[in-house]
Each structure stands twice: as structure tokens, then as C-alpha cells.
């Protein structure tokens, strides 16, 4: 085997490992968890007298859980090459940081 062939074989092995996607059963489990989390979100929003800080914090935590589960399992970021993940995370982090700065600049959190 030449060096080039060995490189190709090695790369195929690595990428096949990276790209093995979840089974149908796993997808269904994730969907059930997502449905439960959505139910929790709506339930929390209707708890009478819940302190505003607790309400916001718990809803944001549940939102992040749902976002991460869809991105990691359904979009396969957990299983695919890290290069794909970097492309998305750069845009996501840039958006979150940029718009948090905008909101703070306009005094959104200073009341």
C-alpha cells in the first residue's frame, strides 16, 4: 500500500466514525424529551406568583436544553466533524455576544 492509499484509508476510517448517526430509537427518545421540556416550559410560565427572576432563568435554561438537543442530535453536531460545529458556533456566539452588547447599550437590563 502506498503512503497516499494509507492516508485515504485512514481518513475514511476517521470520518466514518465521526459521521455515524443515532438510531431511529434514539431520535424518538430525543423527541419525547423535547416534548416533555416544552410542556415544562409552558407549565412554568403558568405558575402563579413565581418570582420574575426564577421564571426567566428557568425558561432560558429549558430553551438552551432544547436548542442544544436539536443541534447535537437532530443536526448531528455531536457526531459529525468538529469543523461543521465551529462554523455554526462562530455565528451563534457572535450573534449572542453582539446582540447582548446592543441590548445592554440601549439599557435593556438596566431598569
Amino acid at each position: 500500500m502506498t503512503e497516499a492509499e494509507a492516508h485515504v484509508e485512514d481518513r475514511t476510517h476517521v470520518e466514518t466514525h465521526e459521521a455515524s448517526h443515532p438510531s431511529v430509537g434514539e431520535y424518538i427518545k430525543i423527541a419525547i424529551i423535547l416534548a416533555i421540556v416544552t410542556g415544562l416550559e409552558v407549565g412554568i410560565a403558568y405558575i402563579p406568583g413565581i418570582p420574575f427572576g426564577w421564571l426567566v432563568a428557568s425558561l432560558i435554561v429549558l430553551m438552551v436544553i432544547k436548542f442544544a438537543m436539536v443541534a447535537m442530535w437532530f443536526m448531528h453536531l455531536k457526531f459529525d466533524s468538529a469543523i461543521y460545529r465551529r462554523f455554526f458556533v462562530i455565528g451563534l456566539v457572535l450573534a449572542v455576544v453582539l446582540f447582548l452588547i446592543v441590548l445592554v447599550s440601549f439599557g435593556k437590563f438596566l431598569r
Binding site: 481518513r11 403558568y46 421564571l55 443536526m75 466533524s81
Partner: protein
């Protein structure tokens, strides 16, 4: 399970230096840029949600949270049917592929129908695009999201037709995977909108 990530060259895509499919890489770059697009619209709404003239209708006055929760659930479940479509083409099961693609498009249509119903109810209550800055920000944000869902539905139906015509083989798995990425992204954007725009008062 079959894979679609190793790209050392195929009939559908030439070999690449990274060993990754350039189309998928471009899709991820596009989705990264879409984060900034929706980030701008969401933060605009958060800034202006209280900009309502005295005595005017505020978004909170017209929201129907139980109804929107059902819409959100429908869109979330469409992500499940989308991954089932991908799993079907990876197995080479084209009948199941078509069933799940059409199911995903159907759930997307239910979501859009819900959005049209919701918009109509809001307008009847006096919360419109022109009633306040808050209204403008709300309708631009949710309208752009709805437009993304509509584009996704059209692409799903086109893929289902290609499959029915025998023009979508197992070699074209990447096309379904990319369509799936777009669809899931539209779903996660709604996850954020639902929490920040609807649930947090």
C-alpha cells in the same frame, strides 16, 4: 447506520481537501450567518416590545399561549419526522423517505396555518404591523420565520416529488441531510422565539 459524511469523491460530489462535503460546510456557514440575521430581529423585538402608544394593544394582551404552545409542539415534532426521512434514505427505503418528507411538510403547513390564524386574531384585536413599533418588530420577526418555514416546505415537497420520480437515489443522501439541517435550524430559531417573545413577559 449508513453514513454521509466521508467525501473522498463520488458521483454526486468531487473529493475535497478536508475530506468533508463542501455543500454541507457551506450550509453550516449559511446557518451561522442566519444566527446573526435572526439575532438582529429578536433583539429588535426585545428592545421595542414595550414601545406601544398609550392605550394601545401590547403583544402580551393578544398572545394565546396554549395555542402557540401547540404550534411549537407541531414544529418540534416535524424535526423528528425530518430525521426519520434522513434515516430512511440512508437505509435506501424510498417509500418511507417520501412518507416522512410529506409528513414533515404537512406539519410545517399546520404550523404556518396556525401562524396565519394567530396573525388574523392579533389584527382583529388591534395589534398590527402599523399599530406600534412593538407590532412592527413582532410581525417582521415572526413573519421572516414563517417565510423560512414556507421555503422549507417547498423544498420538502420538491424532494418528495424527485423521490417519486426516481431522481433521488441513496447517492443523494447529502441533499436530504442539508434540507434537514435547514429545517432543524428553523425549528431551533422557533425554540428561541417561543421562549423570548411569547413566554417571558
Amino acid at each position: 447506520m449508513a453514513t454521509s459524511d466521508a467525501h473522498l469523491g463520488s458521483a454526486d460530489h468531487p473529493a475535497t481537501a478536508t475530506g468533508l462535503d463542501n455543500r454541507k460546510l457551506a450550509m453550516w456557514a449559511f446557518l451561522g450567518s442566519e444566527c446573526l440575521f435572526f439575532g438582529a430581529l429578536i433583539s429588535t423585538f426585545l428592545l421595542y416590545r414595550e414601545r406601544v402608544p398609550e392605550g394601545g394593544v401590547r403583544p402580551e394582551d393578544v398572545y394565546d399561549i396554549p395555542f402557540t404552545s401547540v404550534s411549537s409542539f407541531v414544529l418540534l415534532m416535524s424535526s423528528l419526522t425530518m430525521v426519520l426521512a434522513l434515516a430512511a434514505i440512508q437505509r435506501g427505503d424510498h417509500r418511507q423517505l417520501r412518507i416522512w418528507l410529506v409528513a414533515t411538510a404537512g406539519l410545517g403547513m399546520v404550523f404556518i396555518a396556525g401562524q396565519i390564524f394567530e396573525f388574523t386574531a392579533f389584527i382583529e384585536h388591534g395589534f398590527t404591523m402599523r399599530s406600534s413599533v412593538s407590532g412592527s418588530a413582532f410581525f417582521v420577526l415572526t413573519g421572516f420565520h414563517g417565510a423560512h418555514v414556507t421555503v422549507g416546505i417547498l423544498m420538502l415537497l420538491v424532494m418528495a416529488m424527485f423521490s417519486a420520480a426516481g431522481r433521488l437515489t441513496q447517492e443523494h443522501t447529502m441533499r436530504i441531510e442539508m434540507l434537514g439541517l435547514y429545517w432543524h435550524f428553523v425549528d431551533i430559531v422557533w425554540v428561541v422565539i417561543f421562549t423570548l417573545v411569547y413566554l417571558i413577559p
